[in-house]
Symmetry: C2
Subunit: 185 residues, 2 copies
């Protein structure tokens, strides 16, 4: 389908409020096509992110769990991370993260989905990869700031987590529901 008309805003002024790792924010004053001036629009600049739906040769889904400070909870999640300057490609970043966080690698990889965390105020995109036939290749090798548990789940267990609303991270729920929509039993 044809994309809707792009009614672009005009930037009247733009300034950085903060430029830190994990926290780069700019504030812009913008004009809409209808003439309305919005004096404060906040934009968060992040590097692109990746996450992975990884399946072992035996058909198990590789999940992790990790404390998420903003909501104070720990849920089942996909392996996920940031594309670093050293990563040759989004897939390379995804392979690196899966290996670091879980010890799994190898197998066949494809780009499965591309999302925006929030096109209103996030500049970055998120790439989900589907990796099949991955194997345990190395011990988990996380940073000190990462406290990550690995869980191998069956297809039925993953579907149960989705049905129960336990996968609350939108960037993980979207590709997982897509997986099940495209691959009904």
């Amino acid at each position: 389908m044809k994309r809707p008309e792009n009614r672009v805003w005009r930037v009247l002024s733009s300034e950085y409020l903060a430029r830190r790792p994990w926290f780069t924010v700019r504030r812009e004053k913008v004009a809409l096509p209808n003439g309305t001036i919005v004096p404060e629009w906040y934009i968060f600049e992040f590097p692109d992110w990746i996450n992975v739906i990884a399946l072992t040769r035996e058909g198990k889904f590789i999940f992790i769990s990790q404390y998420r400070h903003a909501i104070g909870q720990t849920r089942y999640e996909l392996t996920a991370g940031v594309i670093d300057a050293e990563d040759a490609s989004p897939e390379a970043a995804a392979r690196r993260e899966l290996l670091e966080e879980t010890g799994y690698g190898g197998g066949k990889w494809e780009l499965f989905m591309t999302l925006s965390p929030n096109p209103t105020n996030h500049t970055n995109m998120v790439y989900t990869f589907l990796a099949t036939d991955v194997e345990l290749m190395a011990p988990q090798h996380t940073e000190a700031s990462e406290d990550i548990m690995v869980h191998l789940l069956s297809r039925d267990e993953v579907r149960e987590l989705l049905d129960e609303g336990e996968i609350i991270q939108a960037l993980h729920a979207a590709p997982l529901w897509k997986f099940f929509a495209e691959r009904p039993r």
Copy 2:
């Protein structure tokens, strides 16, 4: 399934960097259970959000399109918004937003999905409602800062947008893929 162990971080210090509408940020110094100290963790405080999968009596999906400044693009989206202090409930907020942005209302409503935009750094949750048998009840009534087009799409058109990767807002893609996973033809 049982939720994973919650390995809570200890907050050593916390300060607000900004408290503006649409931009409230605090920085915290935290200690992980393994003793690692993270000196800077940024948390964005937002009110809870809603969005709506709305279907008319004729089975058309109500979509909107709206310029999204952080990525400079306009795509098809669900009706979405913020739960205001005056809203009696998330459903009341969702009904208000659908009426304001599209003029549609009435019908049967149910809570369809609950997501976190990003549990790492967003405090808020997002509630998706499924509204069926909605009807055109009033003219569109948007704010000056909203430049919104309404689109009535067939089920096949919505599935085509999903298949083509055109629904890039993760908070909309997740409930829409869930809808199609749960309701195959």
